[in-house]
């Protein structure tokens, strides 16, 4: 990991006007959480419904998409990545530095808001907050790595990412049972379900896969897409339209 690359990445991610977008969804979630608490009398199952549907299903993948593509996509699009690549620095450490910044940003702007949302909306001894915190962290890592890799692999990373996060996971995942098994969100919910024990079914926390399967698949996807992204960055074509 290269500290200079990390510094430039942080400036690029948070220094642009686009960074304001990173605040919109978390603020919206906290507002909805307060509303849910008021409307449901702080019921954990209402809280789980909000966290599962909006926080995990919409906010987290969208934030990870913004962050994962934001740390490298614009530089590849406008060609300024050449200033990083034309240096005697292994491409691997460039990519890992960007991934590290993206993951830290994901924790601050997505994982912590998900936890805060669950805590505000209604919880018992912070059980829901902890369980969803673990799920959000695991899913956040996998989503961010996936979307970062996508933006190295294709110029249409945002579109592909949106299709995956919203269409595949949320819409198709809701109707087609098999699709639910191939979903970062479902894999990450497995440990949350296990942590909540007997309360899980009562509060409506439910994963399509078992915990060992979920954790294994998360690890395989995260490591796999990162490896692919490093390979692609090593041979990234930078040529003018000429």
């Amino acid at each position: 990991m290269n500290p200079v690359v990390m510094e430039l990445t942080v400036r690029g991610l948070l220094g642009r006007r686009r960074s304001l977008l990173l605040l919109v969804l978390p603020v919206l979630l906290l507002g909805l959480a307060a509303l849910t608490r008021w409307a449901s009398g702080a019921s954990p199952s209402a809280s789980a419904g909000l966290t599962d549907g909006f926080a995990m299903g919409t906010l987290l993948p969208l934030m990870c998409l913004l962050i994962g593509t934001g740390v490298i996509g614009p530089e590849i699009d406008d060609g300024s990545i050449v200033y990083l690549l034309a240096k005697p620095v292994p491409r691997r450490s460039i990519l890992l530095a960007k991934l590290a910044v993206a993951l830290a940003t994901t924790v601050v702007f997505a994982v912590l808001p998900v936890m805060a949302g669950a805590a505000i909306a209604g919880d018992v001894e912070l059980r829901l907050t902890t369980a969803y915190g673990v799920a959000a962290l695991l899913a956040g890592v996998a989503y961010t790595a996936l979307f970062l890799a996508l933006s190295v692999l294709t110029r249409n990373a945002v579109v592909v990412g949106l299709l995956y996060a919203l269409l595949w996971e949320s819409v198709l995942g809701g109707y087609v049972p098999g699709v639910r098994d191939v979903s970062i969100r479902q894999w990450a919910l497995a440990p949350a379900e296990r942590m909540l024990g007997y309360r899980a079914s009562g509060w409506g926390v439910d994963s399509a896969v078992s915990m060992p399967v979920g954790l294994t698949l998360l690890a395989v996807v995260t490591v796999g897409v990162t490896w692919l992204a490093i390979r692609r960055l090593t041979t990234l074509r930078l040529a003018a339209a000429d």
Partner: protein
Amino acid sequence: MSTITLTGVSRWYGNVVAVNDVTMTVGPGITGLLGPNGAGKSTLISMMGGFLAPSAGTVTLDGGTVWRNPAIYRTIGLVPEAEAMYDMVTGWQFLLANARLHGLADAEAAARRALETVEMLDAADRPIATYSKGMKQRVKMATALVHDPAVLLLDEPFNGMDPRQRLHLMDLLRRLAAEGRTVLFSSHILEEVEQIAGTIEVLVAGRHAASGDYRRIRRLMTERPHQYTIASSDDRRLAAALVAAGAADGVTLAGGSLAVQTSDWGRFVHALPRVARDAGVRLHDVAPADESLESVFAYLVAR
């Protein structure tokens, strides 16, 4: 002293051949890579800079391959054609970051020296987003020089520069070459290349069309008629004056501008300002017509 060697280099994208079997050696001194737009100059420079794998052939720097070898960037400084930079940082922060990425022992001194070389120290504390095109070009140049490289690759460095900046950059390139560096720059304007390049490599439609010093290339090119497009306060009067002065072989007035043909561009270029002044005509725009240039290049290929 470093040398880039291309041996039988081709590059194709699907069915389109961008660079076709090019063999050349680029050594110390200034080499101009001349060719019309779309000739494959950027593709060739990308391959020399290790950003593109040749589809066939080899590109080596002092005997070592450049593809997938980031170590070459200790030796190579690159000025890309794209204007985009890290807009949100200041010139100073950007140069310092570049120096640190190179792992230089005294990054601050190197950044300051590079900014000094391109005369950008005064504006170094402003965000790059506020720079003019010429200033950005100079900062790009500084990033390429920050690690004191033996080889400089510049893709269309004179694009968008005003005449004063152009002269300044030419001086700088001459100075760098005099220090024993290998400097290669691309351009589609013969006059630009001719002024500073010791060696000229002509690329047309992906093929290496000609190679040599400027006299040889110039002779090849001046055998062909040149064409200029001129916009002035009184095209008709200027046309008559140019013909009367014997500075042009033919003139055409059409489409609101004046097209001039000459077989001796040197004489024309020197005569034009004098003739215009004597005739009381104000020149708004003088440009070599691209078509003519293309036809010269086409002529070189057909040769």
